[in-house]
């Protein structure tokens, strides 16, 4: 809808009573947090232990908390949409509000839930699994986190200040151009993604260097845990895909702020170019988030089957094959754009090819379980639940990839069901499996299994109830992004069922939160450091691991090094026969936080086209860069006594 009658945008969003209510809630929460921090005198602690940390384990925990919060926010969006659609002629949300909600839902879930969740898992596990003391660039790692964090804040701010974006999570022009989306909402989207995108690129580089250069001696590439391999795939994809998003967003921003004509219809602009650039990032992006989930399933399945992963080398090969192929399929998101039969055929066939390595992986997980001694822990439940999900998601993906058929499915609820099947059934299940699996390593206690399983079953059942009807709705002609529908289309029953499923999933999420709270209070403590009798290096360390991870770097002689040590060497890793030496570690720094804050300020300035503020932000960014460049005092040595003391306290004799 064209909103030509441009009114000056109010700074605070006040019109909608629901938004007003959340404004009040947000304000109260903020006041509450500030009051609590002040009352318990925790400001210093917050700054010293968290805001300035460069420790990958703490950064991982912050990513995790942020991801869960964003899952809540995106989840509320989802429940609102499902409530609206439960019955015909729903009037809970105004059309504009519905548009905003489906936009923020998609954006939040992919960029600010899935991405930080995978970053959480890789930060927590990768350095420990390869026997390193931190990532290659701990300071840059902190920058990545804060860029993500302030990007997420910028997007969420739009909800109360200026108004949310409403051109869809893909933000196609010309809809997202100024004439059709006036006001700051779209700018919030562009700048928030830009900010967090910089952080993601840095993370990709950081982990690739970490994995290539920081492995313990003897840990050859083919001895690495499969999760680490999956992070290689993800990092490579990030490095080659994210710059395309950067460009796509920047060019729209030029159109909007400077009146350029990249994607306008006037003056020779080509909107289709945006769609290409977006999906050159967008399709690899879905594999950026699914590969770590694959990696987690490999770890979980092999641990809880007490077997080494079946077909290790074929797993590695398929990860790499997926990384390459997923870069060659982007046009399957717009077969209907009319690129012609040659192009469509190429991309259709390439898309179907992705199914092959994925199938290899699924069979390898099944064969790993075959004849294994399976323990049905919560993490394992999520892993097993994933397999049928992905079978369905893969099959519907292949259906969509058949270009002529896609003319029928495209932008229908069939498509919605497909990508939720893979993104929830694959990525979210994977991340939750990883969260339950590594939770003891992060926090030193185990999440309660009974509550965890209740959460799993609620979520899993709710998931099928919610999304299976949507496949059928798609066949029946229901298109995506409609804010309501009339009675008499024959869609009512299925929509109602779908909404009930969404509520059941919501209850499942509440159970996960309950599980965390309950277990923090009375959960079983992990005193051994190896609660699952697992196989990889991180479980050789106490839970939580000391900040330097390994007092001595072990020498690796086999795959599943910790399992081998337990079988053959009474649970002792091969450590060099030397006394403990001082450990070289990076110092904490507040600059990454300030650096990202400067981006936030600058971004906020651009959103409102207050160029003085944008310039201020830029100056802050440059100042932080110079400060760091001139800082020659960035690391220190942990003295031997401190290491010995810590190791003693953790009840491991430092021989």
């Amino acid at each position: 809808m064209l909103r030509g009658d441009v009114q000056p945008t109010p700074f605070f969003v006040t019109g909608d009573p629901m938004i007003l209510a959340s404004d009040v809630l947000i304000a109260l929460t903020l006041v509450g947090i500030v009051a609590a921090l002040t009352y318990f005198k925790k400001w210093k602690w917050l700054w010293r232990e968290w805001l300035t940390t460069v420790d990958h384990k703490k950064i991982g925990i912050m990513y995790l908390i942020a991801a869960l919060l964003m899952m809540f926010r995106g989840g509320v969006d989802a429940e609102l949409m499902r409530t609206q659609l439960a019955l015909p002629n729903g009037r809970l949300l105004q059309p504009e509000h519905y548009d905003q909600i489906f936009t923020t839902h998609g954006t939040v879930m992919i960029l600010f839930m899935a991405m930080p969740f995978i970053f959480a898992m890789m930060n927590i596990a990768v350095p420990l699994q390869i026997g390193a003391r931190d990532v290659a660039f701990p300071y840059l790692n902190a920058i990545s986190f804060w860029m993500f964090f302030f990007g997420a804040m910028l997007l969420n701010l739009s909800f109360v200040i200026g108004g949310s974006p409403d051109a869809g999570w893909v933000s196609y022009p010309p809809l997202s151009e100024t004439p059709f989306s006036p006001g700051p909402g779209e700018n919030f989207y562009l700048l928030a993604l830009q900010t967090s995108g910089i952080g993601s690129i840095a993370t990709g580089i950081n982990f690739l260097v970490t994995i290539f250069k920081m492995r313990a001696p003897g840990m050859t590439l083919m001895r690495m845990p499969l999760f680490v391999w999956s992070i290689i795939g993800t990092s490579v994809l990030i490095i080659f895909a994210f710059p395309a998003l950067t460009v796509a967003l920047a060019l729209i921003l030029f159109d909007r702020l400077m009146g350029a004509h990249f994607f306008t219809i006037l003056q020779g602009g080509v909107p289709m170019m945006y769609i290409n650039l977006f999906w050159i990032w967008g399709h690899p992006e879905v594999y950026i988030v699914i590969l770590p989930a694959f990696g987690i399933f490999s770890e979980v399945v092999s641990t809880f089957s007490k077997k080494r992963t079946f077909g290790y080398s074929s797993m590695v090969a398929s990860i790499m094959a997926i990384s390459v192929i997923s870069y060659l399929v982007w046009a399957h998101h717009f077969f209907t754009m009319g690129a012609g039969p040659g192009v469509n055929a190429f991309f259709a066939i390439a898309s179907m090819c992705v199914g092959i390595p994925t199938g290899v992986k699924v069979f390898n997980w099944l064969f790993t379980m075959y004849q294994g001694r399976i323990r049905l822990t919560t993490a394992m439940m999520w892993a097993i639940g994933f397999i049928p999900n992905f079978a369905i998601g893969g099959a519907t993906g292949i259906m969509l990839a058949a270009a002529p058929a896609d003319y029928q499915y495209h932008n229908s609820y069939f498509l919605i069901a497909h990508f939720h099947q893979v993104l929830i059934g694959g990525v979210v299940y994977g991340m939750l499996a990883g969260m339950y699996y590594w939770w003891p390593k992060m926090f030193g206690f185990i999440l309660d299994d009974r509550l965890g399983k209740a959460a799993f079953w609620l979520f899993n059942i709710g998931f099928y109830v919610c999304f299976l009807p949507q496949y059928q709705l798609g066949f029946m002609g229901m298109t995506r992004r409609i804010y309501t529908y009339p009675a008499g289309m024959g869609w009512t029953t299925l929509n109602l069922i779908s909404t009930i499923g969404a509520y059941i999933m919501g209850i499942g999420f509440v159970f996960i939160v309950l599980d965390v709270l309950y277990s923090a209070w009375r959960g079983e403590r992990d005193v051994t450091g190896d609660p699952w009798d697992a196989r990889t290096l991180e479980w050789s360390l106490p839970s939580p691991a000391p900040h330097y991870n390994f007092a001595k770097i072990p020498v690796i002689t086999a795959r599943d090094a910790w399992w081998v040590a337990k079988q053959e060497n009474h649970g002792k890793l091969n450590e060099p026969d030397e006394p403990i030496a001082p450990i070289h570690m990076p110092k904490n720094s507040g600059v990454p936080f300030l650096f990202a804050l400067a981006f936030f300020v600058g971004g906020f300035g651009l959103v409102w086209e207050w160029y003085w503020l944008a310039a201020l932000g830029l100056a802050g960014v440059l100042l932080c860069l110079v400060t760091r460049s001139w800082d020659y005092n960035t690391d220190y040595y942990v003295p031997v006594e401190e290491i010995e003391h810590t190791e003693m306290a953790l009840r491991r004799s430092p021989t």
């Binding site: 770097i553 030496a581 001139w630 020659y632």
Partner: protein, 209 residues
């Protein structure tokens, strides 16, 4: 980080390196920087692709042939290529341990960079004052953004190189400063390579009928 970690692990069975590779921190930084350059290359790749798609979409504005001025872009090219050469010599002086040599070559590089940016700003001003700006046509939007992004990179490089050469003057050549000099050099050469493509794809293809 973790020099200790590295020495424990890899001992000294590696080849003797030039100074910038002599610490594990330096080696990590250089590898990481190569990867950053890969991302930057993709970024420019996307801008080039966009440019190629719209380069004939001049709408009511001037076309490439009417706009570009051979002497100007030839001068820009020569200056930038020379600066890459002086920058490479600077790295060589740094490796030989000559602080004075390295600093003066970097200063020359920065000055050449400044004159390049000056010429480019001049070129942009000329176009815009003749009414050809980002708002005129898709072609001009893509031109200004592609060439301008490169120009911003060069400006950033000037600031960065200035900071590094000041550090060289204050702190001397060391295991800490050597990787910095090397990395800013890599960046500079990379921008040169990108310019070669701009020179070919934008300017040469633009003026050749």
């Amino acid at each position: 980080m973790t020099i200790a970690h590295e020495t424990v692990l890899r001992q000294s069975h590696e080849e003797p390196h030039s100074l910038e590779y002599s610490t594990s921190g330096g080696r990590l930084k250089i590898l990481g920087f190569w990867m950053f350059l890969a991302t930057d290359l993709v970024l420019f790749g996307c801008l080039f692709a966009t440019y190629l798609v719209v380069r004939t979409h001049a709408a009511t504005g001037p076309t490439e042939g009417q706009l570009f001025d051979v002497p100007t872009f030839t001068a820009e090219t020569l200056i930038l290529l020379t600066s890459s050469f002086t920058c490479g010599l600077g790295t060589r002086e740094m490796r030989r341990g000559s602080r004075g040599g390295a600093v003066s070559l970097l200063i020359i590089t920065v000055l050449l960079g400044l004159s390049f940016v000056g010429l480019e700003v001049n070129e942009f001003v000329k176009y815009t004052s003749s009414g050809a700006n980002v708002q005129t046509s898709a072609f001009l939007s893509a031109f200004f953004v592609l060439v301008g992004t490169h120009g911003c990179h060069v400006s950033m490089g000037i600031l960065w190189m200035t900071s590094i050469l000041l550090q060289l003057m204050v702190k001397g050549i060391s295991q800490v400063t050597a990787p910095k000099v090397f990395v800013v050099g890599l960046y500079w050469h990379f921008l040169d390579v990108v310019w070669v493509y701009i020179y070919t794809v934008v300017y040469l293809m633009g003026v050749i009928k």
